[in-house]
Symmetry: C2
Subunit: 128 residues, 2 copies
DNA sequence: ATAAAACTTAGAGCTAAGGTGAAGTCAAGA
DNA sequence: TCTTGACTTCACCTTAGCTCTAAGTTTTAT
């Protein structure tokens, strides 16, 4: 199976423009073209795009993703290097998770404080 | 107690430049000045700065933080509004947490896949 | 009292990650 | 054949969030 840029855009919620931009920047590898020169994405491309999206959403900058994708282009020789990048990113995500949890706590506490103040004001108003 | 901009910068890991920038943009309220015009931060300012940092780190854009801070300047009348903003942000953080967890899964799986490939190659090499 | 360090404002410049628009090519249907 | 719509490249525009510079003033330590 292969897909046009529009199909991929719909499926991934990444605009056609951004798909081209990613390719130009090396964040995606060179995508195969049809006779007329239009991009034809394979299932493998889609799979890679899924990973890229995940890396991006966990805070990896595009230039680091490009490095990863370039290594991938160089074949199995770079497997260990790519593994190390993923390992580092895993650690990274773990730290973000922990930080996010702490921030959740903080917002929750502040919220409780505000709710307390509001309850007081409520009580105050009722007294009169 | 009051603190100079440098002390606050050291304590919060937010550069003096950024502290001034935040104030100019209304992300921080107008900070009191010394005789000569230098900023003197109070403990209350520091507390607010902590909340601001938390909101920012959980993805709230500066302009929304500004709105929050402006409401705070308007006094207790806006308590309920501010509570609602915090409530929404709490929900927001929860969603991010969930998403981050899913991304952690994805990276972990991919990593396992890579480790599998590497183990194979290892075995392959040993056979010879 | 004076020198060095830290402060002030105003404003320009930078980076990341896109978005926009022009100008042209190509393929398929009425 | 003509038109419609998706595709191409290329160059410039936008936004968020800083980051730095310049030129001058204040604070602090001796």
């Amino acid at each position: 199976m292969s897909y046009t840029i529009k199909e991929v855009a719909e499926r991934t919620n990444i605009s056609a423009h951004v798909l081209r931009y990613y390719e130009k920047e090396g964040v995606l590898p060179r995508i195969d073209r049809s006779q007329g020169g239009s991009r034809r994405y394979t299932d493998e491309d889609l799979d890679l795009l899924g990973l890229i999206t995940c890396l991006k959403n966990t805070g990896m900058p595009l230039k680091d993703i490009r490095t990863f994708v370039q290594l991938r282009e160089e074949g199995p020789v770079t497997l260990a290097q790519r593994r190390d990048i993923l390992k580092a990113q895993q650690q990274n995500v773990l730290e973000r998770l922990e930080e996010m949890r702490m921030n959740y706590e903080k917002v929750t506490k502040k919220l409780a404080y505000y709710d307390g103040l509001l309850a007081e004001r409520q009580a105050e108003g009722a007294k009169k």
